[in-house]
């Protein structure tokens, strides 16, 4: 069979452009974590969020200042990252207006993202491209797009659901959603994102509500704004959980259960995971612990690199992030939930 020259050229250029795209944006050819819904179902559930593409502008040239000049309130929420020897805090009241910061940490290009409607902060390696806000939502969650291929990436999935990189998974890095007081205590030398973003916004006000005290959209009992693919009433819609996904399944632990138990052992699918509460940052660190290696909570130490101590060494860390329960359950309907008494 003869292939027409023009068709051959078109196919070759498509393959080449995809190769170039994958080279500029580090991805994994298949998502590291099973996705509950088909890509078609996910695409069908995407809806307009109101602003158009880039109507919520990502920060592409972030500026930073010293912690002593930041003037943040102790209980103010920040998204913190410690990576490649660089420590930075991104105040939530700035990210609520921009949702993505295209930054560079120790020479590595990364995107720090935050979705106020699902209360989720995630970091991604972005290679030579940048990420932007598509203006679309999936399960109320920010749908990002990459400027190399225009593929669409729901933030919580980290998997492209449309575009040339459909089905590929982004490479994540751990960020911590905590208060300024806690972050500064752990990392006194941290740099802080300034309000010199290139845009004019009212950075003193969160248009959705308040985390201190809890109010507006962030109240645990308040309803989400947009329909979701799966509903689960085991917890109030906006209850905060620490979630992680693994090849064996997804799991979530409520903040209160994690704080009360200190170390949570979880059988997920046919494997085993350990979640360690970090009392300093009030977050959790997750490890794949297939041999159920015993961990002594008293022997754990918390520092700049996270948690260390007897039993932790040799375990593979798993990325985890805080999320509102309704959003976590909407993306991962089969999730395990630890909400207090028993796993």
């Amino acid at each position: 069979m003869r292939v027409p020259g023009s068709l051959f050229l078109a196919m070759a250029s498509l393959v080449m452009s995809l190769t170039v795209a994958v080279a500029v944006l580090p991805t994994q050819p298949s998502p590291p974590v099973p996705v509950a819904d088909s890509l078609e179902a996910l695409r069908a559930a995407v809806r307009a969020g109101g602003p158009p593409k880039d109507g919520i502008p990502a920060i592409d040239a972030p500026r930073f200042q010293a912690a002593s000049e930041a003037g943040l309130a102790p209980d103010e929420r920040v998204i913190g990252v410690h990576h490649n020897g660089v420590t930075r805090a991104y105040p939530q009241r700035i990210l609520v207006w921009h949702e993505i910061v295209n930054d560079e940490l120790g020479g590595e290009p990364v995107s720090i993202s935050y979705c106020p409607l699902t209360g989720t902060a995630l970091g991604f390696r972005r290679g030579d491209t940048t990420l932007g806000v598509s203006g679309r939502l999936l399960n109320s969650n920010l749908v990002m797009y990459d400027r190399a291929t225009d593929s669409e990436w729901p933030q919580m999935l980290g998997v492209a659901i449309a575009g040339p990189l459909v089905g590929h998974g982004l490479d994540e890095l751990r960020v911590v959603w905590t208060t300024w007081q806690r972050w500064q205590a752990r990392y006194p030398e941290t740099q802080v994102l300034t309000t010199e973003t290139g845009y004019v916004r009212n950075y003193r006000r969160d248009p959705y509500g308040s985390y201190d005290p809890l109010g507006g959209y962030y109240r645990p009992e308040s309803r989400p704004l947009f329909p979701v693919m799966h509903e689960d009433d085991r917890l109030p819609p906006k209850a905060e959980v620490l979630g992680f996904r693994s090849p064996h399944g997804a799991a979530a632990v409520t903040q209160s259960a994690l704080a009360a138990q200190g170390v949570v052992e979880l059988a997920v699918g046919e494997s085993h995971y350990t979640v360690v509460h970090d009392p300093g940052l009030d977050t959790g660190w997750v490890f794949h612990n297939p041999d159920q290696q015993p961990i002594d909570p008293e022997a754990l130490r918390f520092g700049a690199e996270g948690v260390s101590g007897s039993g932790i060494e040799g375990l593979a860390p798993v990325n985890a992030f805080e999320a509102m329960w309704f959003a976590w359950a909407a993306f991962y309907p089969d999730t395990l939930l630890v909400d207090g008494a028993s796993p």
Partner: protein, 182 residues
């Protein structure tokens, strides 16, 4: 000058009528700016202004919604100032004011004349207010909740043109029914 111009002119002849028009237009403008998020709380009591982003004056962040060029603090209020958003809000406010005056005149007119008011014009003010909230500031959506919020978000780009159309149409219908002399 056409007959309609004459009728429109009779709406605002006295000082009271000018005052009413200015009051309604200004009130609506402030309400629009508040609901669209340009005007909000967060001020720390001072009075100052900076204008660092004049280059973005024509940059749209949504249909009929433009990037602020400056930040103005007025006591407890913070105004992210966009000249084009302000002009749009004033235009809408003026149309709402004229609709209000026309509706008032028709309501006050003798019943025997067979004159009736039109709710169309005032109804037209609602899509603009909703557009303000639906487009970029979620405040109104948070109040409204589901399922209206999702629907409004998708329609947001049509709400403001719809408001302008309804307000203009309402004014046209009412001025046709107005007597030439007040």
């Amino acid at each position: 000058m056409t007959a309609r111009h004459l009728r429109l002119a009779t709406l605002v002849r006295t000082r009271h009528q000018w005052g009413a028009l200015a009051g309604i237009a200004l009130g609506y403008t402030l309400l629009y700016l508040w609901l669209s998020g340009d005007l909000a709380g967060g001020g720390q009591g001072g009075v100052w202004a900076i204008f660092p982003a004049w280059a973005r004056i024509l940059e749209a962040r949504a249909p009929f919604r433009f990037e602020p060029v400056g930040l103005i603090e007025l006591g407890p209020l913070v105004w992210t100032f966009s000249p084009l958003n302000l002009l749009l809000a004033l235009l809408l406010g003026l149309l709402v004011g004229l609709n209000g005056l026309a509706a008032w005149r028709l309501w006050r007119a003798p019943r025997t004349c067979g004159l009736r008011g039109s709710g169309l014009g005032l109804l037209g003010s609602l899509p603009a207010l909703l557009a303000g909230g639906a487009c970029c500031a979620p405040l109104l959506l948070v109040w409204l909740g589901l399922p209206l919020a999702g629907a409004l978000a998708g329609l947001s780009s049509w709400l403001l043109p719809l408001a302008l159309l309804l307000l203009s149409l309402g004014l046209w219908v009412m001025t046709r029914r107005l007597p030439r002399q007040g």
